[in-house]
């Protein structure tokens, strides 16, 4: 799938001027509130008409203002999962699920209801009414409804934003399965680094209506300067790993990565399963020699690649650990005290308990297989 967007759209004082292409499996549209993410989604789905520009999905032109092309929303076959599930209140869950399928030409129906119901774990809800569902259940049904219309592209507009942490944790695995087990390309809108790090293969960063960066998730998320202020503390390196073994005695799981072994709190995954971990820059300490008498279990040897000043107090140190990148944020004072410079051999130190559930996720299987 390729998505090509080049639009200019004015909304009051706000100017959305966006241009990017993406061929990712799950592309995250990432940016703070008010950066134009939702407007962009509405334009792709056909809920809003851009003043000028083009929207092309897989070679099919959906919008071209110059040629006066505007495919109406019901003919786009672009699924949209809203932040507020928007289930039809007068229909049962089963009728909601069937709704889009009814309007899909028989030849283009690839989604099977039993498979989708199974994927999302909503079999027990089919006879219920939307008003009786929890927020997380509603959102899963909404995802199923969009999927059963057999869309060519699935848009998810902050599907977790209105849920509490427990509900988010409940839905996240389903979205991972959706990404890994179906072939539908997904555009996922989010303002949370944790979600993007866990789910995205590609990231497009939006700020005040403009694209400020686009590329693979691992490359974007370690560029802390690209992240919105309130999420910067969440930024850091993404490390692709596989489960090497479980340590039953201490309830830990050992992950193997290019940078070396990483010990994290026990994960419920089989040995060999891919896991993507996010190592927040503020959780990483730097030592100039292999530390002794230290409680932290993860010590990764590497070499300083670059040091970028962040603000008056801190700098971001980027390290190459045998091909994998680790980013650390330390104070300017520490940097001076250690005399850190590019090229210096160092050790990155990370506590095992820095890896909470939000930081570890089932990885993108196909990407790791490749």
């Amino acid at each position: 799938m390729t998505l090509a967007i080049d639009i200019a759209h004015r909304q009051g004082n706000f100017m959305l001027e966006t241009r990017f292409e993406s061929a990712g499996r799950l592309t995250a549209l990432f940016g703070p509130s008010g950066s134009g993410k939702s407007s962009l989604i509405n334009i792709i789905a056909g809920l809003a008409k851009p003043e000028r520009g083009r929207v092309v999905v897989d070679g099919r032109v959906l919008v071209d203002t110059e040629k006066r092309v505007f495919v109406p929303r019901h003919k786009r076959r672009v699924g949209l999962v809203f932040q507020d599930a928007r289930l039809f209140p007068h229909m049962s869950v089963a009728a909601n699920l069937r709704y889009g399928r009814f309007f899909t030409p028989a030849a283009e129906r690839y989604a099977r209801q039993d498979a989708v119901v199974d994927l999302l774990g909503i079999g027990a809800l089919l006879d219920r009414r939307p008003s009786g569902l929890s927020g997380g259940e509603k959102q899963r049904v909404a995802i199923g409804r969009a999927l059963l219309a057999s869309p060519r592209l699935l848009l998810m507009d902050e599907p977790l934003a209105s849920l509490d942490e427990a509900r988010k944790a409940e839905i996240m695995p389903y979205i991972e399965r959706l990404r890994d087990e179906t072939k539908i390309p997904i555009i996922y809108v989010s303002h949370s680094v944790a979600e993007v790090a866990r789910l995205a293969s590609e990231v497009v960063v939006l700020s005040a209506g403009k694209v400020t960066a686009a590329g693979p998730a691992a490359a974007i998320l370690q560029r802390l300067d690209l992240l919105p202020d309130e999420e910067r503390g969440e930024g850091g390196a993404l490390l692709e790993t596989v489960v090497a073994r479980h340590d039953a005695e201490f309830a830990m799981t050992v992950l193997a990565s290019a940078a070396g072994e990483v010990r994290v709190p026990r994960l419920d995954l089989a040995v060999g399963a891919p896991v993507r971990v996010r190592i927040r820059a503020r959780d990483v300490m730097i030592a100039t020699e292999r530390p002794h008498g230290l409680s932290a279990l993860n010590v990764l040897a590497g070499r300083v690649v670059s040091i970028e000043p962040e603000d008056d107090a801190s700098v971001d140190v980027r390290m190459d650990c045998n091909g994998a990148t680790i980013v650390s944020r330390i104070t300017r004072q520490s940097r001076l005290a250690l005399g850190l410079e590019s090229g210096r051999e160092v050790f990155a130190v990370v506590k095992t308990l820095s890896f909470d559930r939000a930081n570890t996720a089932a990885g993108l299987r196909a990407e790791i297989d490749a």
Binding site: A45, G46, L47, P72, R73, H74, K75, R76, R77, V78, G79, L80, F82, D84, R86, F88, P89, H90, Y99, G100, F102, F103, T104, S131, R145, A146, A149
Partner: protein
């Protein structure tokens, strides 16, 4: 109880005619009622305020004035009446159809109001969602909007029916008071009060009138509560 149910043929006629007139008035005004309600709730066009005013006019005008205007327009020599009689063979003057027209016009603002309110209560984002799932405008209306406004439509129909059951001024002005043709319940009661010894008949029809109106009110009350409950849930 026998006293109440032993009606004279004329009284029976009045009851039957009233129900027929009210039913026809209610059903005939439903399609234009939904259309006008949609226009007023969703439309953005020049003259919307004027249309709104015209629709509500029968609510504020004296019924006699409305009846007289109908007589001018739809009477035998009125422009609309002559046209309809000539081309479609529909005659309103001094017929029960005229009574139905008068009742429909008088109940129209009530019906439009009820439907319009329910349309305005519909969450348009649900319609957008249906659009992204492949439904075109017609399907969105049939599968999303219509079911969601159904309680409002039913409430509007009940109001229109109840109004028609009680309509007197416009009907008697437009189509007079002919037993068996245009003499509805209120006209029949009025006639009884005008003749000596008519008290008993007037009282009987009054009680029947109260029963029918109460039934309509109860139904609309139940439906209104159901609408409220549904809106809370969404």
């Amino acid at each position: 109880m026998n006293w109440l149910t032993d009606l004279t043929p004329d009284e029976w006629n009045a009851v039957r005619l009233s129900i027929k007139v009210a039913t026809v008035a209610m059903l005939a005004s439903l399609p234009p009622g939904i259309l006008i309600a949609l226009l007023l709730a969703r439309g953005r066009f020049w003259g919307k305020t004027l249309l709104n005013g015209v629709v509500h006019l029968p609510l504020v005008l004296p019924p006699v004035v409305t009846g007289y205007l109908l007589l001018l327009a739809f009477g035998k020599r009125g422009p609309a009446g002559a046209f309809l009689a000539e081309h479609f063979g529909i005659v309103f003057s001094f017929r029960w159809t005229g009574a139905a027209l008068a009742c429909a016009v008088m109940g129209f603002p009530l019906m439009v109001r009820a439907i319009r309110l329910s349309i305005e209560a519909v969450d348009r984002r649900l319609e957008a969602a249906a659009g992204t799932l492949g439904a075109n405008v017609g399907w969105v209306f049939a599968t999303i909007t219509l079911p969601l406004i159904l309680p409002g439509i039913i409430a509007g129909m009940i109001l229109s029916f109840a109004k028609a059951m009680g309509e007197f001024g416009a009907t008697i002005t437009f189509v007079s008071n002919i037993p068996g043709e245009t003499q509805t319940l209120p006209s029949a009661i009025y006639t009884f009060t005008q003749v000596p010894g008519g008290d008993e008949g007037a009282l009987r029809l009054t009680l029947i009138s109260i029963i029918i109106s109460m039934a309509a009110l109860v139904v609309s009350e139940v439906l209104a509560r159901r609408v409220g409950r549904r809106l809370e849930l969404t």
